[in-house]
Amino acid sequence: MTDAIIWVVALPLAGALAALLLPRLATAVAVGTAVATSVSAAALLRGVATQGVLHYELGGWSAGLGIALRADGLSAMLLMMTALVVLAASIYTSAYITAPAERARFWPLWLLLWTALNALLLSGDLFNLYVTLELLGLSAVALAAFGGKRAAVAAALRYLLVGLLGSMMFLAGVSLIYAGYGTLDMAQLAHMVTAGPTAWTALALMTAGLLLKTALFPLHFWLPPAHASAPAPVSAVLSALVVKAAFYLVLRLWLHVFADVVTPAAANLLGALGAAAVLWGSWQALQAERLKLLAAYSTVAQLGYLFMFFPLLQALPSVTARDVAAGGLVMLALTHGFAKAGLFLAIGIIQQRSGHDSIQQLDGTAQRLPATTFSIALAGVALIGLPPSGAFLGKWQLLAGAVATGQWVWVVVTAIGSLLAMAYIFRVIGHAFGHQSYPNLPVTVAREEWPALLLAAVAVLGLGLAGAPVWQLLEIRV
């Protein structure tokens, strides 16, 4: 079903336009588009699983000159995750944002963001990547500033500046590559790129730019304020998907395109930054006084885990071991996506009910919303990396790889990070036990609470128990 590959990009785009043109039906259009796009994503995943890598050339132009869309196992899985998260968040938003004017402004941006995400995941060449990256950044900024409050706008502006800087660097790197190798198609470049000044500089530029966008320590400073003021669904998508997209790009570049250029020292540098991110992010999350800030710093920490895989992937001797470790990486990324989205949606419900998201004063609200609190607990379990969540399997692979290559420092960092995560998650959950009477029914507002709960459940149970296909799908690559 190669058509699915274009549907996942076209449908959200069409939906965005439709929402723009039909403001009063915007919500219905958006939710409908979400469902349709999710179905297409599922079809795409199935197609990749059965047929291998899928190609699509826009306008019939062949690779090298035209825009080629390529779907392999990794992109299909990330695409599916994106689809499910955005679907859940859309249903959530249909009850969360109620003012018609706001809705009319929100949905087009939302769907545009999704278009950019999908296109980025499916892009086969570097310039396309730049375009989608830029689009992604701009729509994310617009959504982050949604609501128009001073703090939100300031945070969004900062995000914008940082994002533009990153994109500029990325573009600089892309142009160097083009100048050096004459093509921008990633599959071709993978065969052509060798170590040399061009490749080094290009990779350094592109990575530096992407690190800004993926909020790796110490370049993460823009993330917490952006989260603090954005509406809940936007925070969900921002933490779960947008920064993940930038990370996906780093992964693609380092593992596929520039595989011969990467050195152990460079991988160790990324790993060290990741470790620092884990420790610093977890520590800050422990100190946080607002739930949203806690979640934001948790994202910083979780991304650090992802980056700690790089030195392992460099050092593991056999291909099978590397594949298994890479599977752990992807599993961790997927789980974090679902869990963080679920967490933010749940926090949004709390914020809506009580007007604030201060942790100290959480008691009453948390006890009156058992389903929401449970969602937070489930998401927390996935963020800590406790079984049976998918993150447990991912952390296992991280630890196994570190032990196998004798790089014990990552083991220590992971252990400390997990312990800190346990501390900050259970600090929140402790507020769920108190003297408020238990409501008779656990779920109050279905459209808001079920998406959060289901996202968290997927992270903990779905990926944890049925996650074996991740490794199988990962083997399908360009």
Partner: protein, 557 residues
């Protein structure tokens, strides 16, 4: 049928437990010792029953020794049950009293018919712990102290016996029945444990510290069985676990001889120093147990004479049990209802029996013991004669104390108690004739008369010896030690906490502010408020990372 009776010996008292709280429960307890008497009289020697599913495989059986033990223990328990049937121990906690009474009976009778080490240990432990409940019964301060001391000693003894039994089991590959103990000697350590473990029950000198106070506070029927039947379990333990000739080398026999003789004189002298009749009887028991110990020692030292000696010891034990039990029961009557003339006569008679007056069981027991001693042990024969003399003195002092401390109360004595006491007296009178027919020896007159003469003199020259202050000082020292140990334990438990606390304070004082300052500085970097400060730092970091990346590509490449 016979096997059923053997099992009922201990099972019947246990089955009566649920009835302990009913009305007339005291009377229904009378049936409890009956299977024991039935077994002693009717079940043939050599009967045994094996219950492999009980505990770790239990065996019960009856041999000659067991028969005699069952007989006198059963009689004593029956008498005590009758004595207390009408509520001697007070109605207020009657149920509690009866529960512990039945448990102690079950344990005592059960260990007599036990055919393997674990069943014996079970009965012994049950009896020991249940007796504590009886000692505690009056619920006074003194009773508490006595019970605590008794418990400490009993538990210590039981723990030592546990080790001995486990070691014996290991030595014989896990087998537990007494028959296997015949094969091969025990290790010295095991013999020591057995001696001390059962020695505590037998109140050997040095291990006797629990006894006098315990006897002083327990209600009369309970102390009768405590000092009469239960204390003999220690002897039975030795007889079962240390079969002479095979189990222990002769050296141990010598040690037991010395200990026994020490006990005889220690008991007598201690008894003479007492002010209270009950405690005097206690020390008298210590003395008599010393005789038994001496006999046991002789049996171990001269294995050829063992069978005869054991027979004599068992007879002596039976005699002492009945007489001591009767003494306590009578004393109880005197304590409650005042010293009636017939009571005094009875007690006097019992005193004579204990001292070994002619035609009494005492004389019989002593003569049998003397004759069964081997020829080499002539010293022992002499010592036995001296002990007879000493016993006379002791009994005289006992009667003196009873006379002196008679209360003027004329409370109505319960009929059943009097009947019980008289019945035991009858048994004691009939005892020598039943055993030896008309063949009773007439020796022992000399020490007896000498003793009576001397007691008369002593009575006239009686002076009040102050209660030993040494004992009081010793007691105080022990309490102080216990308190200090408890305080020390508490302190050590808190020590790590204190240590941690002081370390933490030291850290706070010197560098406590440092991490906080560091964190504040770092957190400042995060705060979006002063963004102008932030950009240069972050920008610098970003450029540095970019540069490092390039460098790492170049240098390693």
């Amino acid at each position: 049928m016979n096997t059923a009776i053997l099992v009922l010996v201990w099972l019947l008292p246990l089955s009566l437990l649920p009835l302990a709280g009913q009305r007339y429960a005291g009377w229904s307890m009378l049936v409890a010792p009956l299977p024991a008497l039935l077994a002693a009289l009717m079940v043939p020697v050599g009967t045994s029953v094996s219950l492999p599913w009980l505990l770790l495989g239990a065996e019960f059986g009856l041999d000659e020794t067991g028969r005699v033990f069952l007989l006198f223990s059963g009689l004593l328990w029956l008498a005590a049950a009758l004595y207390g049937a009408g509520g001697w121990a007070g109605e207020q906690h009657g149920t509690r009293y009866r529960v512990f009474f039945l448990l102690a009976m079950a344990g005592n009778l059960g260990l007599i018919v036990a055919g393997d080490m674990l069943s014996f240990y079970l009965g012994f432990t049950l009896m020991g712990l249940a007796a504590c409940g009886l000692i505690l019964h009056p619920a006074t301060q003194l009773a508490r102290q006595a019970a605590r001391r008794y418990l400490a000693w009993t538990i210590a003894g039981e723990l030592l016996l546990f080790v001995a039994v486990v070691m014996l089991a290991m030595q014989h590959g896990g087998a537990l029945d007494f028959a296997i103990l015949q094969s091969g000697p025990h290790t010295g350590f095991v013999v020591l444990l057995l001696i001390i473990g059962f020695g505590i029950k037998l109140a050997l000198p040095g291990l006797h510290l629990w006894l006098p106070q315990a006897y002083a506070v327990t209600p009369a029927p309970a102390v009768a069985v405590l000092g009469g039947a239960m204390i003999k379990a220690g002897l039975l333990g030795w007889l079962r676990f240390l079969p002479p000739g095979d189990a222990a080398p002769g050296g141990w026999g010598q040690i037991l001889l010395v200990v026994g003789v020490t006990g005889i004189f220690f008991g007598t002298i201690g008894g003479l120093l007492q002010q209270q009749p009950r405690m005097l009887l206690g020390y008298s028991s210590i003395s008599k147990m010393g005789v038994l110990t001496t006999g046991m020692g002789a049996a171990l030292a001269w294995p050829t004479a063992a069978p005869a000696l054991i027979g004599a010891l068992v007879l002596y034990a039976a005699h002492h049990a009945l007489v001591k039990g009767a003494l306590f029961l009578g004393l109880g009557l005197a304590e409650r209802g005042g010293l009636r003339p017939w009571l005094l006569t009875g007690l006097g008679f019992l005193g004579l029996v204990l001292a070994g007056a002619p035609l009494t069981s005492g004389a019989l027991a002593k003569s049998v013991l003397k004759t069964s001693l081997p020829a080499e042990a002539h010293v022992l024969v002499l010592l036995l004669a001296v002990s007879a003399f000493a016993t006379t003195l002791l009994m005289a002092r006992f009667l003196y104390l009873v006379w002196q401390q008679r209360g003027g109360s004329t409370t109505q004595l319960p009929g059943e108690a009097i009947v019980a006491w008289l019945a035991i007296l009858a048994v004691i009178v009939a005892f020598p004739f039943a055993v030896a027919g008309s063949d009773l020896p007439l020796a022992n007159v000399a020490p007896l008369t000498l003793g009576i003469l001397l007691s008369g003199i002593a009575l006239l020259a009686a002076s009040h010896l102050p209660e030993s202050t040494a004992i009081r000082k010793y007691r105080r020292a022990v309490t102080r030690l216990a308190v200090r140990t408890a305080v020390a334990i508490r302190r050590t438990a808190r020590a790590p906490q204190h240590l941690f606390g002081s370390l933490h304070r030291a850290w706070q004082n010197c560098c406590g502010a440092l991490p906080q300052a560091l964190v504040n500085r770092l957190a400042q970097l995060q705060r979006p408020a002063r963004s102008e400060d932030q950009w240069p730092l972050t920008g610098g970091l970003w450029l540095a990372i970019g540069g490092l990346l390039l460098a790492t590509f170049m240098l390693a490449g």
